[in-house]
Symmetry: C2
Subunit: 358 residues, 2 copies
DNA sequence: GCGGACTGGTGCAACGATGCACCGCATGCT
DNA sequence: AGCATGCGGTGCATCGTTGCACCAGTCCGC
């Protein structure tokens, strides 16, 4: 039984519009698809009036069936529960909306299998473009679809050797970002710094660590002497919300040292918030006793007490770029080359950093 | 030019499967749609083998065109950038996924026009079920589509008199929630309480205030004597992030009073965080000098210093309910009655509340 | 041995939009 | 007159799936 039959609603079809306007469906279709260069203004007017009057909206399923195209893109993130990905979702959707596209949201929960399944599903839905925020260093699992024509934009992940040739990568320059953060701390006079992160399993985590080391070297400090906080239990501690737990635990260990660091660079803001929490647990005041820097500049960074010094990723611009890259590749023909877009991060100085208190 | 032609990929059709299995497309379709009660086991086996071998996935556009059904639901939230809505999106998607449904994400940015446009778009996409988190007290703007058969679940909003008859409302019991919070404070010995919120423009804000008053009365306190913090500039201060600004400003005013309150009930967690900030600005320590209670239990509540006492909404259960209500109404036939689901909130006591210090 | 029921399928006309191939007519050019 | 060219459209097959209507064959009871 058709839904239509049940509710007794009759969706307006192109045929009805055509009848109303006294033309053929083809002509209406021509107008709708911009093939109106040789059409009497009067005819066009009649059609437009009919469309308005009947409240016609083209049926997307029919259109997609016929053309093979559609205006939906997929977004696969670890979890929109994390404000960082929430912000991406929001900006991406905003960019897409402006061009009449929609965003289908998928939370991979950092499960590779789920990630793959989702992309399969999206493909079956006729979605040809996906923004993928993968936790995986390799994209091999989606290669078959890429070979069939799936357009992929990797977000928050720089290109790797084994990546598909057509891949577009969009990311902030992680090394520069954490170098900026480290530099800020050394300029404040800190000499005992620690780096807190989960396992350096992903490319951009490694990059951030590299920036940290570079910052130390630049200040004439010995990277070997710098503390690298326990990286947790292994490759699995990749969580997004759990990042805060990790920060908290790491801070606890650091506080217990004979000579605790006076400044901490955290792998991201959630982790930094956890670090602050852990410092307080240990009786130290973040921003006074110990400086803390985060990464991402999530909304909460400016709400926390102390407000968090952090490295901002220009999310709005990055999201817009992700969409426009995707769109360009979906629309046009011809072979498409992959490329990497590296955005410049920006240090936002707030209350959580200051001169060493000792 | 068809995309298919361009990339040279040939999507597998039901016809190919049929040929491969030596049956007609109808038979494959029958199997796919569970009409297989009278089919030779051997035939079924042949078809399944063919499907696997060719990697066949039904084309959704074609299926939807034919049946008018689909497996996508819409989610309209103010903004997934806000962790509260992010959490909802995540849980709803999770519930949907388990049943093979997808979630199309829409950020209304609290713009009524955008909200309406989105729902129109969703309808044009063939989406028949939408979870709507509307900021608007009236749902009149979507009535035309509801009359055409759109199934709507209102989230975080209790039913109103003018609502469509078929509407399902899902919400926490706001009155009970803030009564629990208030009761907690009075039991700790507080007698000078304040309520901080923006304009009580939405139904659930009014409810929360009602619970606050009920809590006071229950403790034998005079609601008239309770402070109701300035409600800001008017009906516009509905923001999500801005809630914190509002809390901060309100706290500043309260601190300046001759007899400041010893406990504050905030309209939600973001607001409560702002209140904490405002208290500190005024030289008071939240959780020690003044107790603060929030509402929602966002992730940050447990990370903040002090950790925030708050009223938890059982988001996972609420999201699951939203989906199953929607699904039931999409699947079955017959007239559907609206209903309201009120979930029981839970008080989570943390560090931001304690006995009055004086 | 003939009507009826059951079995295991198949045929076919949709669903709504698209866009190429084509059409009749008027005008211009030689 | 004879042909090309431009104009303003229209006809029709097609996309992949669905599910009702139908079919040929077998078996049963009387």
């Amino acid at each position: 039984m058709r839904k239509n039959a049940r509710v007794g609603m009759s969706e307006v079809t192109i045929q009805q519009v055509a009848t109303e306007a006294g033309v053929s469906p083809s002509t209406v279709s021509n107008l709708l698809n911009g093939r109106n260069h040789r059409m009497l203004p009067e005819t066009r007017q009649r059609i437009e009036t009919a469309i308005d009057k009947l409240g016609y909206r083209p049926n997307r399923a029919a259109r997609q069936l016929r053309t093979g195209r559609n205006t939906t893109i997929g977004l696969v993130v670890p979890s929109v529960g994390n404000p960082f990905w929430g912000a991406l979702a929001r900006y991406l959707e905003s960019a897409a909306l402006a061009e009449g596209y929609h965003v289908l949201l998928c939370n991979s929960e950092r499960d590779p299998r789920r990630e793959r399944d989702y992309i399969d599903e999206l493909w079956a839905d006729g979605v040809h473009g996906v923004v993928l925020c993968s936790s995986l260093p390799s994209l091999e699992h989606v290669m078959p679809l890429v070979e069939r024509g799936l357009q992929l934009v990797a977000f928050d992940r720089t290109s790797q050797a084994g990546d598909p040739a057509s891949l577009v990568s969009i990311s902030v320059d992680n090394a520069i970002g954490s170098q900026l953060a480290t530099q800020h701390l050394t300029e404040l006079g800190h000499t005992r710094l620690a780096f807190v992160s989960g396992a350096l399993a992903s490319v951009n985590r490694k990059e951030r660590y590299r920036g940290f080391v570079a910052g130390l070297e630049q200040a004439g400090l010995d990277p070997e002497a710098a503390l690298r906080a326990p990286t947790g239990s292994g490759a699995d501690d990749f969580g997004d919300v759990e990042a805060s737990e990790l920060g908290r635990a790491a801070a606890a260990e650091l506080v217990a040292l004979d000579e605790p660091p006076t400044a901490i660079v955290a792998i991201n803001d959630m982790c930094a918030l956890g670090v602050c929490r852990g410092l307080r647990d240990g009786g130290l005041e973040p921003g006074k006793d110990v400086s803390v820097v985060g990464f991402d500049d999530i909304v909460l960074a400016d709400l926390y007490a102390p407000t968090l010094t952090t490295v901002r990723q220009p999310m709005r611009e990055m999201a817009a770029a992700a969409f426009s890259q995707l769109r360009a590749r979906l629309d046009d023909s011809g072979p498409t080359q992959g490329q990497s877009l590296l955005f410049r991060p920006e240090l936002i100085v707030r209350e959580s950093t200051g001169a060493p208190s000792t």
